[in-house]
C-alpha cells in the first residue's frame, strides 16, 4: 500500500508525515515523531501504557491508525507540562510516590487528565474506574489513586483562586 501524507497535531505542534495506512498512532508517535514518552506494552489495547488524548479523549494509541488521527489534536505525556511547568497531575504523581518503574506513568497520567478534564471532583471509585484500563504492576494502584485525587483538589483550588 502506498504511503500517505498526513498532518498530525501533537502537543500543539503540527507535523506532516508520510505513513503506511496500517501504521498505528503509537508507532507514528514513537518512530516518526520520536516522541518516545508514549510506551508500548502490549499492542492489543489491554495494558494502557500507550494511552494518549485524541481530541481530549483517552485512547489506546496502539488501537488507532495514524491516518485516522489526521488533523486531530493529540496530547502525549510530553505535552502535559506547559512552559516548563509540570501539570499538577505530574507534580502529584511525584510527590505521592505514584511512580515506581514509570512504564505505566505516561498512559496513567493521560487517563487521569481525561478524567479530570470531564469531572473536576471525582470520587475514589470514579478515579479507579477511569484508570481501570491502565495496568500497573508495581504500585497496587494505591498511590496513583491518591495522587489523582490530590491533583483534582489542587486543580480545583487553582480554578477557584
Amino acid at each position: 500500500m502506498a504511503k500517505q501524507q498526513i498532518r498530525l497535531k501533537v502537543n500543539g505542534e503540527t507535523y506532516e508525515i508520510l505513513v503506511e495506512p496500517y501504521i498505528t498512532l503509537l508507532e507514528a508517535l514513537r518512530e516518526e515523531l520520536r516522541l518516545t514518552g508514549t510506551k508500548k506494552g502490549c499492542d492489543l489495547g489491554d495494558c494502557g501504557t500507550c494511552t494518549v488524548l485524541l481530541e481530549g479523549k483517552a485512547v489506546n494509541s496502539c488501537l488507532v491508525l495514524a491516518i485516522d488521527a489526521r488533523d486531530k489534536e493529540v496530547t502525549t505525556v510530553e505535552g502535559l507540562a506547559q512552559g516548563g511547568k509540570m501539570h499538577p497531575l505530574q507534580e502529584a504523581f511525584i510527590e505521592h510516590g505514584a511512580i515506581q518503574c514509570g512504564y505505566c506513568t505516561p498512559g496513567m497520567l493521560l487517563s487521569a487528565k481525561a478524567l479530570l478534564d470531564m469531572n473536576e471532583h471525582p470520587s475514589e471509585e470514579e478515579v479507579r474506574a477511569a484508570i481501570a484500563g491502565n495496568l500497573c504492576r508495581c504500585t497496587g494502584y494505591v498511590r496513583i489513586v491518591e495522587a489523582i485525587l490530590a491533583a483534582a483538589e489542587s486543580l480545583a483550588r487553582r480554578g477557584n483562586g
Binding site: 514513537r30 520520536r34 516522541l35 518516545t36 514518552g37 508514549t38 510506551k39 508500548k40 506494552g41 502490549c42 499492542d43 492489543l44 489491554d46 495494558c47 501504557t49 502525549t76 505525556v77 510530553e78 502535559l80 507540562a81 509540570m86 505530574q90 504523581f93 511525584i94 510527590e95 510516590g97 511512580i99 515506581q100 518503574c101 514509570g102 512504564y103 505505566c104 506513568t105 505516561p106 497520567l109 478515579v127 479507579r128 474506574a129 484508570i131 481501570a132 484500563g133 491502565n134 495496568l135 500497573c136 504492576r137 508495581c138 504500585t139 497496587g140 494502584y141 494505591v142 498511590r143 496513583i144 489513586v145
Partner: protein, 761 residues
C-alpha cells in the same frame, strides 16, 4: 546529624524524568543504521532439528543478517546448571524456543524473513507433567545432561535436573512422638511477572570490537559475564547498560536475548534492536515455576509442631534456570516462621517440554508459604484451635534452626502477628462471623542479603558526591535509598548526592537488583564507601583546622571542631584541597559480602549459600465470597512487616502495596494455561487477568522497625515478602468464608463453585 536523611519519605529521584516522558527505556533508544531483529521460535515442543535452510531469508531485500546455532559458539550456560543454549542446537525442547534470528531494516521485513526460513523437524515424544517426567520410562529431554557443568555439587538423574535433601533433627523420632499427623498436597500454577515493559535489547560493536548492550536486565554484571561466556570474548570487551527498567520482578534475569542481539550485531556490523511483543513475553520468557508441594506435619495434642516432612516438585520447563534454585529455596522456607524440631525436605526440579521457568518475586517462597500456611489452618482446625492461637504456640525465635543449617536471626514474627491481629480485629471477626465473609492469616519470613556488592563514591570539587553502583533501579526506589544512605553517613543533604547505576563500565561489581538484597548488600557497600570518603575528608580537615580527627563533625556542608560549628571549613573546600593539594581527588570504596556467622550443613545437592539475615511479615485478609457466582472480593488487607528500618517509608509502603497487588493476582486470577502441545492458551494481558485498580482492596500497611546491626542503619529490605504473605492470607480467608479448602492455585470462581457443590453433596 543522625536521622537527617534516613527515615525521610522523599520522592524518588528518577520520578521527574519519568513523569515528563523523558526517561529513556531500552526500546526508546535509536542509533544510526540500527536494524530490527526478530526471533524464529520452534513449532514443536520437543523435536530434533534435521535441517535449517535460511537461503531465501538471506536473499530478501532489507535483511542484513540471519543466524542459527552455527553462528554461536557451542557453549551451554546457566545460573546453576549450564544446560542452556542461545539458539536451539540439534533439538528443541519447548514450543517457541529460539531456532533462528534475523536482523533487517525494519520489523516488518524481519518478520517476512522469518517466514522464509525453512526448518525441518523430527518430532519427539514430549512430556509436560513433572510427575510423568519423573517416571523412569519418560522421554528424556536432555539426553546428555550428565555432561553439563553445575556450579554446585549437583545430584541429577533422568529428567530430574536437581535433587536435594536437607534435614535437621530426627524425623522418625518426630513422627513417632506426634499425636496427630496431617498430610496434604498443594499445587501452584505458572504465572507471569507481567512487568509492563517487554524485554528489550540494543546491541552494537564499536570499531575496536567492543560490544555494548543496552538491556532491560535486572543484573548488568551477570549479563556481562554471561555474554562474555556465550560469545567467548573477554569481559573487558563487553559493556552492559540499563538506563531505566520498566519492572522486572525476577523476570529479567536470564540474559539470552542480549546474546542473540549481539550475534546479529556482529554478523551485520550494524546496531541491532530486539524488542519482544507481549505474545513473545508470554510464550518465551521465564515465568514463575509451578510447584507440587507435599507436606506431612506432626503435632502434639497441645498444638506444638514436632515434625514436618516436605517434598517439593518444581517444574523447570526445558532448562533448569532459576526454577532449580527456587525449588531448593522452597524446601527450606516451607518450614515457615515456626519452630520445627525435626524436619526433612526434599526438592526435585524436573525438566518438562514447557518454556524454561524462572523466578518471580519471592524465589519459590510464595509457593511454599501458600502450602505451609494453608496446612497451618488445616491443622489448627483438626486440633480445635484458633489459627492464630495455633501459630502463637509455634512461633520461631532467634537461633531456631532451618533444615539448611541456617539459624534465624532478628526474628520478629511474634510482633508482626500480634500487630496484624490487633489492627485487623482478628478475635472479634473470628467470633462474630458474617455469612459469606472470611478472615485469614499469612505469616512468612524470607531471606535478605545475598552475594557481593561494591561501589565507588567520589567527591566533586563543589562538595557534592556521586555513587557508582552496579545495581539497576527496577522501580523499587533503590537509587534514591542508596543516595539517602550515603547522604546520611556523609552528613550532607540528600541533594548533594547523586548516583550512576546500571552500567558495567561505570561501577564495580554488584550482583544486581534481585532477591530483596539491594538495601542490605549494596546499602552496606554504600555506607562503607561513605565512611571511607568521610575519613579522607576528616584527615584533610584535621590538618587544615589543626584538630584531631575524632573531634571533627560534619553538618550544614561544613566540617568543624565539635562545639564550634561557626568555625570550620566547607566540605567543598576540603574536596578541592584533596583534589589540588593533598594527594588527589577523594574517592571512597565499599564492598560487602554478607557472610553469616553460623556454619551450615548443606545436606545433599543443596545449591544455595546461607543468608545473613531474614525479614518477617504477617498479612491478614478479609474476603467476601458470592456463593452463587464463586466470585471473591477482597475487602481489606492488613499488612505488617518488620523491615529492620525504613530508609524511605514512602518507598517501602509502595513496595508493600505493590506486592499485595501481585499477590492477589497470584491467589485469585492469574495463571498461564498450557495445552497438550505446550502452547500458552491465554498469552494476552486481558485473558491472563492481571488485577486492575478496581480489583484492589482497602490496604492497611504497617511498618515495624527492629534494626539488624549487620544492615545499613538497620535496614533489611522489603522487596519480596509482601507478595509472599498476601496469597496465603487470602487463601485462608477464602477457606474460612466458604468452609471448604481448595489446595490448588488460583482460587478461581469455577473452582470455588465446584468446591461448594462437592461440599454440599
Amino acid at each position: 546529624m543522625e536521622g537527617a536523611v534516613i527515615g525521610q519519605s522523599v520522592p524518588r529521584l528518577d520520578s521527574p524524568a519519568k513523569a515528563i516522558g523523558k526517561a529513556d527505556f531500552t526500546a526508546d533508544l535509536r542509533f544510526q543504521g540500527m536494524l530490527q531483529a526478530k526471533i524464529l521460535g520452534s513449532k514443536h515442543a520437543h523435536a530434533r532439528i534435521s535441517h535449517i535452510d535460511t537461503t531465501l531469508a538471506e536473499r530478501l531485500p532489507g535483511v542484513q543478517a540471519v543466524i542459527t546455532a552455527k553462528d554461536a559458539p557451542a557453549v551451554r550456560y546457566g545460573v546453576y546448571l549450564k544446560d542452556e543454549v542461545l539458539l536451539a542446537r540439534e533439538k528443541v525442547c519447548y514450543l517457541e524456543e529460539p531456532v533462528a534470528a534475523v536482523a533487517a531494516v525494519d520489523e516488518d521485513c524481519a518478520s517476512e524473513a522469518l517466514a522464509l526460513i525453512r526448518v525441518e523437524y523430527e518430532p519427539l515424544p514430549a512430556v509436560f507433567d513433572p510427575l510423568e517426567a519423573m517416571q523412569p520410562d519418560a522421554a528424556l529431554i536432555h539426553q546428555d545432561s550428565s555432561s553439563y557443568k553445575a556450579v554446585f555439587p549437583s545430584v541429577r538423574y533422568g529428567n530430574v535436573c536437581m535433587y536435594t535433601r536437607i534435614e535437621h533433627g530426627n524425623v522418625e523420632e518426630g513422627l513417632a512422638a506426634a499425636d496427630l499427623i496431617v498430610e496434604d498436597t498443594f499445587c501452584t500454577q505458572p504465572v507471569h511477572q507481567c512487568y509492563l515493559e517487554p524485554h528489550a535489547v540494543v546491541a552494537l560493536f564499536d570499531a575496536s570490537g567492543k560490544l555494548t548492550v543496552w538491556s532491560s536486565t535486572q543484573q548488568v554484571f551477570v549479563s556481562q559475564a554471561t555474554l562474555a561466556e556465550v560469545l567467548q570474548i573477554p569481559m573487558t570487551k563487553v559493556r552492559v547498560i540499563n538506563t531505566y527498567l520498566g519492572g522486572g520482578f525476577g523476570g529479567k534475569l536470564n540474559p539470552w536475548l542480549e546474546g542473540i542481539a549481539a550475534l546479529l550485531a556482529r554478523k551485520s556490523a550494524r546496531p541491532v534492536k530486539l524488542v519482544f511483543n507481549r505474545l513473545e513475553e508470554f510464550m518465551a520468557t521465564q515465568p514463575r515455576a509451578p510447584f507440587i508441594i507435599e507436606l506431612k506435619t506432626g503435632v502434639k495434642r497441645d498444638g506444638r509442631i514436632v515434625v514436618r516432612v516436605a517434598k517439593i516438585i518444581g517444574d523447570a520447563g526445558a532448562y533448569a534456570d532459576h526454577a532449580l534454585g527456587e525449588t531448593a529455596q522452597a524446601a527450606v522456607r516451607v518450614q515457615g516462621p515456626y519452630k520445627i524440631p525435626h524436619m526433612r525436605a526434599e526438592g526435585f526440579c524436573v525438566y518438562t517440554n514447557k518454556v524454561n521457568f524462572g523466578c518471580y518475586r519471592g524465589y519459590g517462597v510464595p509457593q511454599a508459604v501458600f502450602a505451609a500456611e494453608s496446612q497451618m489452618d488445616i491443622i489448627a482446625e483438626r486440633l480445635g484451635l484458633d489459627p492464630l492461637a495455633f501459630r502463637a504456640i509455634n512461633l520461631a525465635e532467634d537461633g531456631d534452626l532451618l533444615p539448611s543449617g541456617e539459624r534465624l536471626r532478628c526474628v520478629s514474627i511474634k510482633e508482626t502477628m500480634q500487630t496484624a491481629a490487633e489492627r485487623a480485629d482478628w478475635m472479634e471477626k473470628r467470633v462474630n462471623k458474617v455469612a459469606g465473609r472470611g478472615i485469614g492469616i499469612g505469616n512468612a519470613y524470607t531471606n535478605t542479603g545475598m552475594l557481593a556488592s561494591s561501589v565507588f563514591l567520589r567527591s566533586n570539587e563543589d562538595g557534592t558526591f556521586q555513587i557508582f553502583s552496579g545495581v539497576v533501579d527496577i522501580g523499587t526506589g533503590a537509587n534514591t535509598i542508596l543516595c539517602q544512605i550515603a547522604a546520611e553517613e556523609l552528613g550532607v543533604p540528600l541533594e548533594d548526592v547523586s548516583i550512576v547505576s546500571g552500567d558495567t563500565d561505570m561501577a564495580p561489581y554488584d550482583l544486581g537488583s534481585i532477591a530483596t538484597r539491594v538495601t542490605y548488600d549494596t546499602g552496606n557497600a554504600v555506607r562503607l564507601a561513605a565512611m571511607d570518603v568521610k575519613r579522607q575528608l576528616f584527615e584533610i580537615a584535621a590538618k587544615r583546622l589543626e584538630a584531631n580527627i575524632e573531634d571533627l563533625e560534619i553538618g550544614h556542608r561544613h566540617i568543624y571542631v565539635k562545639g564550634s560549628p561557626d568555625k570550620g571549613v566547607t566540605v567543598a573546600e576540603i574536596c578541592q584541597h584533596g583534589l589540588y593539594v593533598e594527594g588527589g581527588p577523594i574517592v571512597g570504596r565499599g564492598k560487602f559480602l554478607g557472610v553469616p556467622s553460623f556454619k551450615t550443613q548443606p545436606g545433599e545437592g543443596y545449591p544455595l549459600d546461607p543468608y545473613p539475615s531474614f525479614i518477617f511479615g504477617t498479612h491478614i485478609a478479609e474476603v467476601e465470597v458470592d456463593k452463587d457466582t464463586g466470585q471473591v472480593k477482597v475487602l481489606r488487607i492488613v499488612a505488617v512487616h518488620d523491615l529492620g528500618r525504613a530508609i524511605n517509608p514512602l518507598a517501602a509502603m509502595a513496595q508493600i502495596e505493590g506486592g499485595i497487588g501481585q499477590g492477589l493476582g497470584y491467589v485469585l486470577t492469574e495463571r498461564m494455561i498450557f495445552n497438550e502441545e505446550g502452547r500458552v492458551l491465554n498469552p494476552t494481558l486481558l485473558d491472563y487477568k492481571v488485577p486492575t485498580a478496581l480489583d484492589m482492596p482497602q490496604m492497611e500497611v504497617v511498618i515495624l522497625e527492629y534494626p539488624d546491626e549487620l544492615a545499613p542503619f538497620g535496614a533489611k529490605g522489603i522487596g519480596e515478602l509482601p507478595q509472599i504473605c498476601a496469597p496465603a492470607a487470602v487463601a485462608n480467608a477464602v477457606a474460612d468464608a466458604i468452609g471448604v479448602r481448595i489446595r490448588e492455585l488460583p482460587l478461581t470462581a469455577e473452582k470455588i463453585l465446584e468446591a461448594l457443590r462437592q461440599d454440599s453433596v
